[in-house]
Symmetry: C2
Subunit: 336 residues, 2 copies
C-alpha cells in the first residue's frame, strides 16, 4: 500500500476499495469466504439452532494497554454469543473510518482483529468499509456481528434461590485501563497504581466447562458496560429474586482497587471485556470453579448467591450490606 492515509476514494466501492481490501485485509484475514469478496458469505452451520449477535465499538483511545479496538470488536461479539450459550463460529465486521486515518494504524487494528478471531477459532467471513470526511467520525468505529452454534443442554433450568454466582476472573480491568489511558495516569504517577492492562479477551476457553457442566449452568452474562453491578441488578430484575454478592470473594487486583480508591470510581461498575458471570445450581459452584481454574481461569471464584427478595446487594468486607443501584451516575463513556 503506497498511501500513508485512508483516502475518501477508499470508500467508494470501486478500484481503491478493492485495493485496500486486497492489499491490507485479505492477506491478514486469510479465509476462503473473505477472499471471494462477495456481497455475502455462504456458510455451513452444524445445527439449525444458531445464535446471532451484534455490537458497535467506539472505544477511546483506539489503542489501550492490553489491546485495541480491533481485538475488542472481535472478542466482544464472541463473548456475547458465548454468554447466550453458543460456540462462536463466524464474524462480520463493518468498519467506518475517517479520511486521513493512518494506514499503519488501520493495518494494526485489522491484524489484531484477525489474530483474536484466529485464536478463538472464529472466521471473519464478511466485512464492509465506509470512509467519511475528516472529523465526521472519531478515527474508526467497528461494528461486528457474530453467528454461533448453540451448545446443547445449557440453560435448561430457571434461576432459583440458593443458586450460586461465579465470576471467571478479576473484575474491572478493562474499565480501569481505559480510564487510566485516557487520563494519562502513568506508572508511578499515583501511589498504588501501575499501568493497568485491559482484560480484553475472547472467552472461548469456557467451552470445556460449558459442555461439562451444561446441566448445572443456568445463566451467563459478560459484565461489560456497567460492570459486575449492572449484571447483578439486571439478573435480580430478570429473575425476580435478589442477588447477594460478597465483597471479600470478588476477585480484583490491587492496582485496580488503588485506582478506584484514588479516583472515587466504584470498581463494581467498571467494565470487564474478558470475564463471564455464571449462575449455577446450589452446590455446583465448587466443581465449576475447579474446572475453570484447570482451564486457565486462575482467578475464577464463587462470589455470591441468589436469594428470595429483590435487587442486588453487596455484603461488605466489614460485614454490612450495601444495595447496588443502577448506574444513572456518569460512568466512563466510550469504554467499548
Amino acid at each position: 500500500m503506497k498511501n500513508k492515509y485512508i483516502k475518501k476514494e477508499d470508500g467508494y466501492g470501486g478500484q481503491a476499495t478493492r485495493r485496500l481490501i486486497e492489499e491490507i485485509i485479505i492477506p491478514v484475514v486469510d479465509n476462503p469466504a473473505a477472499d471471494r469478496m462477495d456481497d455475502s458469505a455462504l456458510l455451513k452451520v452444524k445445527t439449525r439452532n444458531i445464535l446471532f449477535s451484534t455490537d458497535g465499538y467506539v472505544v477511546k483511545p483506539l489503542f489501550f494497554p492490553g489491546g485495541d479496538i480491533g481485538q475488542l470488536a472481535v472478542s466482544g461479539t464472541i463473548n456475547d454469543i458465548i454468554a447466550q450459550g453458543g460456540e462462536a463460529k463466524f464474524i462480520s465486521a463493518g468498519v467506518i473510518v475517517e479520511e486521513g486515518f493512518l494506514i499503519d494504524n488501520f493495518k494494526k487494528i485489522i491484524e489484531s482483529a484477525a489474530a483474536e478471531a484466529r485464536s478463538a477459532g472464529v472466521e471473519i467471513v464478511c466485512g464492509d468499509i465506509k470512509v467519511v470526511e475528516p472529523g465526521a467520525a472519531d478515527g474508526i468505529f467497528i461494528t461486528t456481528a457474530g453467528i454461533g452454534e448453540r451448545i446443547n443442554g445449557l440453560f435448561r433450568d430457571g434461576i432459583s434461590p440458593r443458586d450460586e454466582v461465579i465470576v471467571t476472573g478479576a473484575v474491572a480491568e478493562h474499565g480501569a485501563a481505559i480510564f487510566q489511558a485516557r487520563n494519562d495516569i502513568l506508572e508511578g504517577t499515583l501511589e498504588g497504581t501501575a499501568v493497568i492492562k485491559s482484560d480484553v479477551a475472547a472467552l472461548n476457553g469456557l467451552y470445556g466447562t460449558m459442555e461439562k457442566y451444561s446441566a448445572d449452568i443456568k445463566f451467563m452474562r459478560d459484565p461489560t458496560r456497567g460492570g459486575l453491578a449492572e449484571v447483578a441488578m439486571e439478573l435480580a430484575e430478570m429473575a425476580g429474586m435478589s442477588v447477594e454478592l460478597s465483597q471479600k470473594a470478588i476477585p480484583v487486583k490491587d492496582w485496580v482497587k488503588g485506582l478506584a480508591y484514588i479516583t472515587g470510581i466504584d470498581y463494581l461498575y467498571l467494565a470487564c471485556e474478558g470475564r463471564m458471570v455464571i449462575i449455577c445450581g446450589a452446590g455446583k459452584a465448587e466443581g465449576i470453579v475447579k474446572s475453570l481454574k484447570a482451564d486457565g481461569f486462575s482467578d475464577a471464584a464463587r462470589i455470591g448467591e441468589i436469594k428470595t427478595g429483590n435487587g442486588a446487594s453487596l455484603k461488605t468486607a466489614a460485614g454490612g450490606a450495601r444495595y447496588l443501584t443502577s448506574g444513572e451516575i456518569a460512568q466512563i463513556p466510550r469504554i467499548c
Copy 2:
C-alpha cells in the same frame, strides 16, 4: 420518552439505555427475540447452508427523497443476501449516534427500519446502541448484518459467452436523489429536473423469479456504490469475459438523465439501492424479464450480453462503443 435529545447516558448500557430500548425500540421492532434484550438472539434456520452479510450506512443526508438511513440500512443488507442467492431472514442493527441527536428523528429512523424489515419478511432480532460525544459521529451511523437461507439450485453454472444481462428496474435513482438532496436542487430549479426519489427498497419481490428460474440464473449483484458500470466491470474481471451493455436498452428515467446532463455526472456510475443485475443463460432473459414484470418490476429489461474478450463496454445510442473504466474519478461520497 421525556427527553428530546439523545443523552450520553443512553449509551452507558445501564438504566437509560434500557429505557431507550424499552420505550422506543421494542414497541417498534416488535418480535420476541428483540423483546428479551439478551446479548444475542437464538434463531432457528431451515437450512444449514446460510448466507451472512454486513454493511455500514453513513448516508448523508439521513433523510432523503424516497427514504432514510433506517430503511436503507435494512434493505441494503437484505439485498446483499438476495444477491448471493439467499432469502433474507434475520437482521441485526448496530447504531452509533452522537449525543444531542433528536429523539424524534431517532424514532423515525428506527420506525422506517422496522417497517422495511416487516414488509420484506425479515425479523430484526438483535441490536446495539453506542452514544458518542457531540461531533464524534455525524448524526447517526447504522451497521446491519443479515442472515439468509440459500435458495436451492441457484448459480449452478458459470458465466459463458452469449449469457444475457438483465436489470430489474431503472438505474441511478438513489445516487441522483442523494446528489439532488445534498445540493438543494429543488423541483423546477433546473430545467429537466424534478425531485428525484431514491429507488431504495428491499428486493424480496425477486424470490418468485429466483425460484422459478433457479436453473437459468447464473449471477446476481445489486449495483450500489459505483452503479451499473462498476458491476459490469467487476463481472467482466471475475468471469474473464467482456460485458457489453446497450445504452438504448438500459432503463433510466428522464429526470435522472436530465440531472446527469446538467451536472456532467455519468448515471452509469450512480448507485441504485433497489435494483438487481441478473446474468442468465442465453435465450433465458425474455422469460425472466416477463416474470419480473408480472411481479411488479415494470421497468425490468434485458440490457446486454456476455462476450469473449475482457472489460465492460457500452454500445451507445449512436451506434458507437465506449469502454467503461473504473471509477477512480471522484463520485458521490456517502451515498449509502
